[in-house]
């Protein structure tokens, strides 16, 4: 366990990719396969769920440290991380004999789940007694299920690939989907001879790069914009273009008479989209489609009329099972835009043009109302596409996707093959009224803000935003918050309404849960409007005017 804690510290204390890979490879080289499997499990963001209620952990740690509950909460608020607060507040112990990571997990951590609270209490006290701060911190991270370290899946994949001497695409594929962190599993991951056969396993998703212009408001539009895109991407004829849909990215697998629908977060979405699972049954074995799950309006013949806004789809998100009423009110369709496997053959090395051809061919032969191919725009120039993009909102789309006709299907976000050309966000000038301290790297700085618009002479909160300021600006706002606090409610401070920010967001919908009556989607700070006074901020009515009809 100390070696794993050491690895965590090394990964945590550097931002350099090469140093991280080096630390990981050194770990994998020395670890036995059981440990390596668990390390991979945790480093790729998987968790042991519900081991000990955090409420009890707080209580026991406070007791052990002889501090009252309020003081524990003050400390937590300053540290910004529960596991870290727990490990710092309890006086350091004296490390006992060390055991390996897998022994720790199997003998010390997993059994916590079935213990009575008294047994858990005793187990925690002995754990604290036997750990130094470093090991204890990692143990508490695992127990609270908040283990995160600045390591991407891609990085772990590269490290394992380097350790095993196998190409990283193969490793990435083997790490997809559901697996048990056992020595046998890890042996499979690093085995050069394994012929990968697991039927549920999805392919790693290919992700699109944003076109930089899309992140700034591009008010010029039209010809100048087309010129910028042309300069960045080259000939329009090299690209396929289609709507960028705002739904749920999914990979639909039909193999050996079974269906698997994976989300981009590698979650298996079982029973949540029954019409899509039904549609997949019409596909032949050995088919894998990449596409977007979208709430769709169907015509009586079962054809897709239009895509419904995300707020409709949202009604079905998070439901583990869907009732009949919702099924008929919000039908969903899998809009496939790529074909990754056909008749059991991996198509990813083929150019996009070829994959698209095979996709339409396949769906023509096996039609189903809840399964369709996305529509590619007819060959166009950048100017026409730029104008098309301006109409995105009318189609409930977020902009355009551009994909190189000759590109293979790549792993992750590889520059230059797939581009997303999003529409300019909505923007509004709002006043900072509440601030709260951030977590993690932003712990103890005021970085989580609530913004408001005017309704008469009252400021009504409309959005919370966390991102968009650089470090220097965050510090300035942090100082402002400290100096202009009017009231504190727990971790939240209300401040004198003085600072005005331009807030960008992707969409908005009516809401009964918000005081303003409006919910914004993906709000973030676009810029600090030093030039504006609070009185210059927008009215709530200005925001409501942006609401879509219906």
């Amino acid at each position: 366990m100390r070696r794993f804690a050491r690895l965590f510290t090394r990964l945590d204390s550097t931002t350099k990719t090469n140093e991280k890979i080096k630390a990981l490879v050194e770990y994998f080289d020395l670890a036995d396969r059981g440990d390596a499997a668990w390390a991979t499990y945790f480093l790729s963001g998987r968790k042991l769920r519900r081991l000990v209620p955090t409420k009890l952990l707080r209580q026991w740690a406070a007791e052990r440290a002889a501090v009252p509950e309020w003081l524990f909460e003050e400390s937590y608020s300053a540290v910004g991380d529960l596991a870290e607060t727990l490990s710092l507040i309890v006086p350091p112990g004296s490390p006992a004999d060390d055991e390996s990571l897998s022994v720790w997990v199997n003998k010390r951590l997993l059994p916590l789940r079935t213990m009575t609270p008294d047994q858990q209490h005793a187990a925690m006290l002995s754990l604290w007694q036997q750990t130094d701060t470093e090991t204890r911190f990692v143990a508490m991270k695992l127990i609270t299920g908040a283990f995160r370290v600045g390591v991407s899946k891609r990085l772990i994949t590269r490290a394992i690939a380097q350790h095993a001497g196998i190409d990283s695409e193969t490793i990435a594929h083997r790490l997809m989907g559901d697996w048990e962190p056992t020595a046998a599993f890890f042996s499979g991951v690093v085995d050069p001879d394994t012929d990968d056969t697991k039927i549920s396993r999805p392919y790693p998703f290919c992700l699109a790069h944003p076109i930089e212009q899309a992140t700034e408001p591009d008010r010029d539009g039209g010809a100048p914009q087309a010129a910028v895109i042309a300069a960045q991407l080259g000939e329009a004829s090299e690209f396929a273009a289609e709507w960028k849909w705002d739904g749920i990215r999914g990979q639909l697998i039909r193999r050996a008479g079974e269906t698997f629908l994976w989300s981009r977060g590698e979650e298996l979405m079982e029973n949540r989209w029954p019409e899509i699972e039904a549609a997949a049954e019409s596909l032949p074995d050995g088919s894998v489609l990449d596409g977007e799950i979208l709430a769709s309006e169907l015509d009586p013949q079962g054809g897709v009329q239009a895509v419904l806004p995300f707020s409709q789809l949202q009604r079905r998100i998070g439901r583990k099972r869907v009732g009949k009423k919702l099924l008929s009110e919000v039908p969903v369709v899998f809009h496939a835009f790529d074909l990754l496997e056909r008749e059991g053959r991996d198509l990813r090395p083929l150019p996009f043009r070829e994959r698209r051809l095979q996709l339409t061919e396949l769906l023509d032969r096996f039609p189903h109302p809840h399964l369709c191919a996305t529509q590619l725009f007819a060959q166009q120039d950048w100017l026409t596409l730029a104008e098309k993009r301006e109409t995105s909102r009318q189609h409930h789309s977020e902009g355009l996707m551009l994909k190189r006709w000759d590109s293979t299907y790549q792993v992750g976000r590889v520059r230059g093959t797939w581009w997303k050309w999003k529409i300019q966000p909505y923007t509004i000038d709002a006043v900072l009224i509440y601030a709260q301290r951030g977590h993690g790297k932003r712990a103890s700085l005021y970085t989580d803000y609530t913004f408001a618009l005017w309704e008469g002479d009252e400021l009504v909160p409309i959005a919370k935003a966390y991102s968009g300021l650089d470090d220097a600006e965050i510090r300035q706002v942090d100082r402002f918050v400290r100096q202009h606090t009017r009231e504190s409610f727990g971790p939240v401070r209300s401040v004198t309404p003085e600072l005005v920010f331009e807030i960008a967001f992707e969409g908005l919908s009516r809401s009964t849960r918000h005081k303003s009556g409006v919910a914004t989607r993906f709000p973030r700070i676009l810029r600090w409007r030093h030039d504006k006074k609070p009185g210059d901020a927008n009215q709530l009515n200005d925001l409501k005017a942006l609401l879509p009809e219906s």
């Binding site: 204390s13 524990f72 400390s75 710092l88 103890s444 909160p461 510090r475």
Partner: protein, 375 residues
């Protein structure tokens, strides 16, 4: 426990603090300009220029420019003259010697924060107040160690007054600093060690293992090192980075620099580097990562949580005033322990920009949570 008071000759003697006496006029009070003693008509560490200032230590948030008259410890003379205008009227007194002023007895006692740092003891009509300034418990090779003083009123700082701040043993910290230097030197790298220019850097310097390689200094650090040497503190040999002309092989050496130098073009000359920050704020992962240095060493010149509780217990005052930092938290907890404690500043002034090499301040928010504060 030995309790130190002083006579004009400077020899320590035991003072029995007359706890029974009711407080008539308070000896000191808190004003927007700083802590003020009406009987003696002077300020302690005033925020703005005043006629008479009594200074705890030479950091610029305590020793401010522009006063007519300064009274400070003899051992802080070089540092103060470096910092403040030489035109001012300075008066210096050694630790333990009493200065009589308008019937107030003023004396300085080691605070252990940095060279020349002092707790200021005031006595007037049987009342004893101690303003500790910034202080820490435990040994420091570059300054005299903090001593407890029995008093009626104790004014303490609270920069790190949360139970998560518990300093590791300083010798072990120096061991890990030297290990980091040795390992980096073996890898052909130059070490950049960041700490506040005056106080922290010299304490770091005193703990370095000079057998590993040569030690260089950033300009601001060099000035502080010089003032320490002028004051008679023995420190390892250093060279000012700016004195090196042309191509130079920096691998294996260690450079002491101020935190603001991190990531600037100035650091490019050193080639392959490993960077580290030494500060109490390095205890917490968030600030450590925000600094984006390769290593963070927990080394502070302020009291930690157990230190604060120990100091208050040893001084055993009737009343505690808490300033600078987690004032409300410390005051509330001391009250729960049965002390009469109040917070005397609400602003919580220890910010990341502040010169203590500090990182973030966190003035405490008060419970309970109100859920409807945000949409």
């Amino acid at each position: 426990m030995v309790i130190y008071g002083t006579t004009p000759s400077g020899s320590p003697q035991s003072i029995s603090a007359p706890h029974a006496i009711a407080l008539p006029e308070p000896l000191i009070r808190q004003t927007p300009l700083g802590t003020y003693c009406a009987a003696g008509d002077f300020y302690i560490d005033p925020q703005r220029p005043v006629r008479r200032a009594v200074i705890t230590h030479a950091h610029s948030d305590h020793a401010r420019w522009g006063c007519d008259h300064y009274l400070a410890t003899t051992s802080s003379e070089h540092l103060l003259r470096m910092r403040l205008s030489n035109d001012a009227d300075f008066q210096f007194a050694p630790y333990g010697q009493t200065v009589h002023h308008h019937g107030v007895q003023i004396s300085f006692h080691p605070a252990g924060h940095m060279l020349g740092s002092a707790q200021i003891r005031l006595e007037h009509r049987g009342q004893v107040a101690v303003v500790a300034g910034d202080y820490k418990l435990g040994p420091d090779a570059t300054c005299a160690s903090w001593q407890p003083i029995r008093c009626h009123l104790f004014v303490t700082e609270s920069t790190f007054a949360l139970p998560v701040y518990r300093w590791p043993d300083a010798d072990q910290v120096f061991e890990s600093i030297n290990r980091w230097w040795r390992d980096s030197a073996a890898a052909g790298k130059c070490c950049l060690l960041y700490g506040y220019a005056v106080g922290k850097s010299q304490r770091l310097l005193a703990g370095l293992d000079t057998s590993i390689g040569p030690i260089y200094t950033h300009g601001a650090v060099e000035k502080g090192v010089q003032a320490y040497r002028d004051s008679g503190v023995k420190l390892p040999e250093t060279r000012y980075v700016g004195s090196i002309d042309g191509k130079h092989d920096w691998s294996g050496s260690l450079v002491l620099a101020v935190p603001s130098a991190h990531g600037t073009p100035w650091t490019r000359r050193f080639g392959a580097v490993s960077t580290a920050m030494a500060s109490g704020w390095m205890m917490i992962r968030g600030p450590r990562r925000r600094r984006a240095t390769d290593r963070g060493f927990v080394l502070s010149d302020h009291i930690d949580w157990p230190g604060l509780l120990e100091a208050v217990a040893l001084c055993d005052p009737d009343k505690v005033w808490v300033q600078h930092g987690y004032t409300a938290v410390a005051a509330r907890y001391l009250c729960e322990l049965g002390r009469d404690a109040v917070s005397i500043d609400r602003s919580g002034r220890r910010g990341e920009e502040e010169e203590d090499g500090s990182e973030i301040d966190t003035a405490p928010a008060s419970p309970p949570d109100r859920g409807d504060a945000t949409p």
